[in-house]
């Protein structure tokens, strides 16, 4: 076994003398690959002929024109406006946005829960550490689908009906019709809001960057808290004054709640199940990454006179993050893909509304599967790319 790829570039560079300057080995390699290519092409050609024949039987032609047709079916939940008269393209976007919503909520909840449990696992308190261990071992050895079904069919169904909903501080209501939480309402359109949020984020990022550059050049710490608070307060005031910001509280009216935001039973069960399940894996990653930091680091920091909080913030966490980020992104990727379980309980995610209903109605199996696969592949590439970027930033800089 010679090292990989040694011989191949030369083959490509000298096509004329192909037969003569090659060793027997190289000739054999070309032969094998040619045979492989031939078989692959033959198989693809056969498959393609069958596809064409099958399409002809169904009187379908490949093409994406169906995306402009009217879908004509309702979708129980969407975060962007949707009506039955909208097109299949709109259905695709609605499904995609619902998938992204689930994935985002799931990632946030799983991260918070996972970090808390991972840190609890390392607690000097025996009871806390053991409780975290019991949680992890119980949760991660059950199928995610079972988690989803238990939350959906058992827990949420056994909540009381709307009229006797569990009332948490008059703000959050738990009922078998879903979870009702307060929401913020403003008269501003979402474009204006996005612009405002984008502006605030950009301003804060600029301040942080300048502060870091100054710290690196002069070694002086720069205070960033005050300007950031000013920016946030300014943005909030702007929305409150100009956009008549108000909090909408859920309140019981008749048999259901009005006001606030309603999280449907499907959405709630899915987010909780995704969070609970993935948190057990994230907790183990967090524990592993903190334990991976050598004891000497902690001792050296203590010898320098740093207190517990500073040791964590300045020594342990920055190093643990470097270990943590790659497997954590992998876990996020799992979560995004697992959000497609939504379809089992009828939450209208991409798979449910597009691969499910739309495919049944149009019969456009190839186009619809191709678009769906492309979405998941792009999502996983994007997350992997972000992770690579982050780990490059966190990489050890060695002299």
């Amino acid at each position: 076994m010679t090292s990989t790829g040694l011989s191949t570039p030369q083959i490509a560079a000298r096509p004329v003398t192909l037969g003569r300057n090659l060793t027997g080995r190289q000739r054999r390699h070309i032969l094998y690959q040619a045979a492989f290519l031939l078989v692959l092409c033959a198989l693809l050609w056969l498959a393609w002929r069958n596809v064409e024949a099958n399409l002809a039987v169904r009187k379908l032609a490949l093409g994406f024109s169906f995306l402009r047709q009217e879908a004509g079916f309702g979708i129980s939940f969407s975060i962007i406006p949707y009506a039955e008269t909208d097109t299949y393209l709109r259905v695709f976007v609605v499904g995609l946005s619902n998938t992204l919503l689930i994935a985002l909520l799931g990632i946030i909840a799983a991260t918070l829960l996972g970090f808390a449990i991972g840190i609890a696992r390392l607690s000097p308190n025996w009871a806390v550490a053991k409780a975290a261990l019991v949680y992890i071992e119980t949760v991660r050895n059950l199928p995610l689908l079972l988690h989803v079904l238990i939350w959906y069919n058992v827990v949420i169904r056994s909540l009381p009906p709307s009229r006797q909903a569990v009332n948490l501080l008059d703000a959050v209501f738990l009922s078998n019709r879903g979870i009702f939480v307060p929401s913020l309402e403003t008269s501003l359109g979402w474009e204006t809001l996005a612009l405002l949020v984008g502006g605030a984020v950009a301003a804060i990022a600029g301040i942080l960057r300048r502060a870091r550059r100054r710290r690196e050049e002069t070694g002086q710490p720069t205070r960033v808290a005050i300007p950031i608070v000013f920016i946030l307060a300014g943005a909030l005031l702007l929305v409150a004054g100009w956009g008549q910001l108000r909090v909408s509280w859920p309140a019981l009216q008749g048999f259901n709640f009005s006001g606030g935001m309603a999280l449907s039973p499907e959405l709630s069960a899915l987010v909780v199940a995704l969070a609970v399940y993935n948190a057990s894996f994230i907790a183990e990653l967090v524990r592993g990454s903190i334990e991976a930091i050598g004891k000497g680091q902690r001792e050296a920091a203590a010898a320098l006179g740093l207190d517990r909080g500073r040791i964590l913030k300045l020594v342990i966490i920055p190093q643990a993050m470097r270990v943590l980020v790659p497997p954590l992104t992998n876990q996020y990727l799992h979560l995004v893909k697992a959000s497609s379980l939504a379809t089992v309980i009828g939450y209208p995610d991409l798979v449910n509304v597009f691969v499910g209903t739309s495919l049944n109605q149009t019969g456009r199996a190839i186009e619809i599967m191709a678009m769906t696969m492309a979405v998941y592949l792009v999502l996983s590439l994007a997350i992997t790319g972000l992770s690579n970027l982050q780990s490059r930033r966190l990489r050890l800089v060695e002299r």
């Binding site: 069958n50 308190n125 689908l145 497609s340 998941y376």
Partner: protein
């Protein structure tokens, strides 16, 4: 004992010394800081409350025997549901007198895996050959029947927990050789094989299993001649194999990379070609290293096979749903899920313990 207590000072008594050690341990590990007192008592209270809720529901008030849900109490578990439907939960609609065939397949699988993993089994090669090549065919013949005096049981009758596990077994066993080829391909010095393997592995790993299952169910039939008939179970197995072989291939790649380069070079030095190097030198070493990885993958796969519910197969969770929709046992999801959960938990926990102990062993062997 008594003589010791009487003759020496009271503090020296082993019982009291032990009590003291325990108290000291509790003070250090449970009540070190004021916050620990709060945390420990909260957790203790929560544990007691949990037991207080579960024990009466699951044991004290639970009903184990009964013909329908009228025999059960509304505030306690109705295990009569599980007892009555147990056969269906395990075997689906597989005809009762033929169920020994399902048991036989799992027994054969368990014995061969045990022989393979045991340290000093003679003739492991034969066992491996049997498991990877003979067992899938033998298992199919046994389950499907229609030959050698076995009555035919069509796949629409297969179901329950045994179907879920069967999908897991088929996924691992059939994917195994495919994954080895993919892992070798990914490391090949011939670019075409390398690119093809990478493309396959990365696409399958980038997709959710649900999408791969739909792909197998919906797209695959398009690639076959018009009018071909497809068994839904066969399509599901194909989807699982497509998916699993990509993941296993990555495990094997890691295993190949863990083998020192000198091994392959030494083989080349004594004149071994590519296949002989692979079969006699790198593969055996790789297979030893990857066992924990394969077991971890098997855990994930066994949990994942429950997803075939979306293809309408009578996998165990669908059987539970069907049972809980039956007027006799209406709404008894919780009992069904607890039963399924216990089985999965036991299986996966045992496998993860095994893989952890193997990992420790491998690490210890590396150090020595």
């Amino acid at each position: 004992m008594t003589a010791v207590v009487n003759s020496s000072r009271v503090e020296r008594s082993p019982a009291i010394a032990q009590l003291r050690r325990r108290l000291a341990w509790a003070r250090a590990n449970l009540f070190a800081r004021p916050i620990d007192v709060l945390l420990t008592s909260t957790i203790a209270a929560a544990a007691v409350a949990l037991l207080w809720a579960i024990v009466p529901w699951a044991f004290i008030d639970a009903v184990w025997v009964g013909e329908n849900r009228a025999a059960c109490r509304p505030d306690a578990a109705c295990w009569a549901f599980i007892v009555n439907r147990g056969g269906q939960f395990l075997y689906g609609f597989y005809p009762q007198p033929e169920r020994w065939r399902v048991n036989a397949v799992f027994l054969i699988f368990a014995v061969s895996v045990f022989l393979l993993l045991r340290r000093d089994t003679p003739g492991k090669r034969v066992v491996a050959f049997f498991l990877l090549l003979v067992f899938p065919i033998l298992g199919y013949v046994l389950l499907h029947g229609g030959v050698a005096g076995l009555s035919r049981v069509t796949t629409d009758k297969w179901g329950g927990l045994s179907l879920t596990l069967l999908l897991g077994v088929a996924g691992i066993v059939v994917s195994f050789p495919i994954a080895i080829v993919l892992a070798l391909g990914r490391q090949s010095e011939m670019p075409l094989f390398r690119w093809a393997s990478i493309a396959y592995i990365e696409i399958c790993r980038g997709l959710p299993l649900i999408a791969v299952l739909f792909m197998a169910r919906i797209l695959l039939p398009y690639a076959f001649p018009v009018g071909s008939e497809f068994d839904p179970l066969a399509l599901a197995v194909t989807g699982i194999i497509l998916f699993e072989s990509a993941y296993l291939a990555e495990v094997f790649r890691g295993g190949f990379q863990a083998i020192p380069k000198g091994q392959a070079e030494a083989a080349a030095a004594i004149g071994f070609g590519y296949w002989r190097t692979a079969i006699y030198v790198t593969l055996p070493q790789m297979l030893r290293v990857v066992v924990p990885g394969v077991v971890n993958n098997a855990i994930a796969l066994v949990k994942n096979t429950t997803l075939v519910v979306i293809l309408g197969l009578f996998e165990v969770l669908n059987i539970v749903a069907a049972g809980a929709a039956d007027p006799d046992w209406l709404g008894l999801h919780a009992e069904g899920y607890v039963f399924v959960g216990l089985v999965f938990w036991g299986l996966c926990f045992a496998m993860s313990r095994y893989s952890q102990s193997l990992e420790r062993e491998l690490k210890a062997a590396e150090r020595s």
